[in-house]
Amino acid sequence: MSVLDSKTPKGPIKDQWTNHKNHINVVNPANKRSIDVIVVGTGLAGGAAAASLAEMGYKVKAFCFQDSPRRAHSIAAQGGINAAKNYQNDGDSTYRLFYDTVKGGDYRSRESNVYRLAEVSANIIDQCVAQGVPFAREYGGLLDNRSFGGVLVSRTFYAKGQTGQQLLLGAYSAMNRQIGKGKIEMFNRHEMLDVVVVDGKARGIIARDLVTGKLERHGAHAVVVATGGYGNVFFLSTNAMGSNATAAWKIHKKGAYFANPCYTQIHPTCIPRSGDYQSKLTLMSESLRNDGRIWVPKNIADVEAIRAGKKSPTELSEDERDYYLERRYPAFGNLVPRDVASRAAKERCDAGYGVNKTGEAVYLDFKSAIERYGKEAATVHGEKNASHERIIELGAAVIKSKYGNLFQMYEKIVDQNPYKTPMMIYPAVHYTMGGIWVDYNLMTTIPGCYAAGEANFSDHGANRLGASALMQGLADGYFVLPYTMGDYLADEIRTGPIATDSKEFDEAEKNVSGTIERLMNIKGTKSVDHFHKELGKVMWNNVGMARNAKGLEEAQEQIRKIREEFWKDVRIPGDMNELNTELEKAIRVADFLELGELFAKDALHRNESCGGHFREESVEVGGEQSGEAKRDDENFKYVAAWEWTGDPKTSVLHKEELEFNDIELKQRSYK
């Protein structure tokens, strides 16, 4: 039997969570006051967890590396949050959301966790509305929904293109209430650099005060890591500049297994890169695919003319355009899941049809939508013989009301008017489904150490559906951890305060300061960014949207080389005992350089295509699905959880076999 115990409750899936809550241990209110919990990360998962735990009575210490919890990168999520409310009466249900999520994840997630996620999703919306989150509403005053890729119902709640911001500010306000009461002690501009394990249990962390550079010890009865994903291992991604894997990687090195690192979501609708100086990529919400049609020219001559600036895309007639998603996937069209849309874009660009100078861009065109909405609006206004110009004007106004902020954002970056000329988009790294392995209680393989939100691996399998990340972060933080942690903490009521002068704390702090001194003393010749960019190139070229054995082997080799070079030649100016942004980056990149190798190793071992992980060796041959990704359920229907042994090369694989009792495994077909 595997060493991994998912602790999935027994019984029918629809009763598991309720039964589990009914039978787990609970800490009485008086005892909660003497229990400390550390929450690292203040995004949706961390912020919601910190607030909820403090409300319950635990003493919470929360940490974030930004200057305020409100900056966490959850804030950048645009499109929306899913919830099985069935407000639109289109047949949505907990089961359907569960089914869509498992299917969308290409059958690589744990059924029980996903079902629970779907089950609590409705509570999230109630909770957020009670907090004052201003979701979009209809004229009758009730909540509005939109539809998102990969599903057939409208279950996405949204606040224009700023849903993540509004939800995060909701969690932040809940935190503020507890900070004001003294129930949460907030540590801004602090970075967790190690977890301290005493007698096999997580007992605290070592954090660096980023302003003074001082290392601090913080003891607690449990540690929650909710520090987001590791997409920045690619250097260029839609993640924030500071998003990093360090906290997650540190707990991994102390005994928490890292699951499915190769599952990365490449989001299809991002603004293409414009030059080598590019520092990050900007996402355009997937909701745009509701109204935008994706195409490239049919003829290579047109592609060349467009690239040379001799032709404008608006000059191409309908027959000269290849709406390749509509052509390949008539059932879902432009609304296929993200991984499918991204690969299709790559396929066209690799075939030479990319429409910008770098050859890495496709069009997202709103012309049809503008005309359609314009005609509708003209009818509503009673303008029966509206001119074409008038229709375009009315239609543009509708589009503006729906996506105005996104269009403005695009125009500011690209300097082109997307109402007049189609947007250019290209896939970019966006989300990492992989992460720290957790059981049903969200506990890692270190007792007392939990992982939540994007930092864990649990709910999205090999591909995440749009508007599900916000749902998972808040579910973990508001509705899962506050219950499941009690089960563990009930045994801690007699422990008393955690002393931070133990030899384990001494040792952990010494290790951290040793690493920092080592980095500072390299005094090499190249900047941290130099190495990060090198790593990013290898990751994108060999471990990106399409992967093969040869490339993955090479990648591991190359990443090792970059890592060795980094530890010999990185230059970090300044001092360690002060605010030092280069040192902060160096610590994070050092971890990415290890994680990247494990990532490639995991991708190599998983010789199947599933979700965001596409192996060129594993595709359907012949038939209607020819060329599509081919999953191998016989050999790979498991979670790959890696145990750290001192070097990514020797990391040990543990498998958690996935059981599907409530869903039949099928090939995902969006045809």
Partner: protein, 255 residues
């Protein structure tokens, strides 16, 4: 502009730490593409400084897509620079010309002390939120159904508009009085417009304003500069709403 891009002179505030005395330093950067964002231009400068053994310029930034509110900077005499409706990370170099001299300073206010170079401490903003920027509901799986409380679309939309504040502090940096009224009023307004928020509206506005005054922000004299420079276009209407909420709350407050 040549194919190679722009050559620029940068005058940047350098200050080692909170206690040190800072000063403006001059730097040159070359071959800056017009498609770069302003922060990417600073990345180029920093790479150049690191490669010549100097300390890079410290500045706050994170999401680089205009939503986290972490980036700041007073560029050529304006918060977030000369463009409108953008944060510094969304400001593009096409707003500048070859051979320009660009002044880059931290946001200045007594309540925003400089931490290092261009980084300032905006924790005063957080403390104002701790004083009342919330609705007192606990996390619960038993909250009433979200649709049991219809909210007029106009109110919901206005609450949303106020709630889009990113807490960057441009309003304070711009205001001649370093007043935080736009920031505080955005939160007060958001909740005052929603039925959920009305229950605690009086305490909220009184407590938040009291904390704002304690932090050392200046008073509002309605110049309207904040609204112009706000990257999210938060309206002055919110300040008026807060003023009226505050007046009402002050008049009926008990004790």
């Amino acid at each position: 502009m040549s194919e190679l891009g722009m050559n620029l002179t940068l005058k940047i505030w350098r200050q080692k730490d909170a206690k040190a005395k800072g000063k403006m330093e001059t730097y040159k950067v070359t071959e800056i593409s017009e498609h770069m964002s302003f922060l990417e231009m600073l990345d180029v400068l920093n790479e150049q400084l690191i490669n010549t053994g100097q300390e890079p310029v410290a500045f706050d930034h994170d999401c680089r897509e205009g939503i986290c509110g972490m980036c700041s900077l007073y560029i050529n005499g304006e918060a977030h620079g000369p463009d409108r409706g953008v944060t510094t990370c969304q400001l593009h170099m096409r707003m500048f010309y070859n051979n320009d001299t660009i002044y880059i300073e931290p946001f200045r206010a007594k309540a925003f002390p400089v931490v290092k170079d261009l980084i300032v401490d905006r924790s005063s903003f957080d403390r104002i939120q701790h004083a009342g920027g919330f609705i007192s509901v606990n996390t619960s799986g038993n909250t009433q159904d979200a649709n049991s409380l219809p909210i007029p679309k106009l109110d919901a939309d206005k609450a949303f508009d106020a709630a889009t504040c990113i807490g960057c502090g441009a309003c304070v940096a711009t205001c001649k009085n370093a007043s935080a009224m736009l920031y505080v009023s955005a939160k007060v307004s958001q909740f005052a417009l929603l039925p959920q928020g009305k229950i605690e509206a009086k305490d909220r506005v009184l407590n938040m304003v009291e904390q704002m005054d304690k932090e050392g922000f200046g008073n509002c004299t309605n110049t309207g500069a904040c609204e112009v420079e706000c990257p999210k276009g938060i309206s002055l209407e919110n300040i008026a709403r807060m003023n009226s909420e505050y007046l009402k709350a002050s008049l009926v407050r008990e004790k």
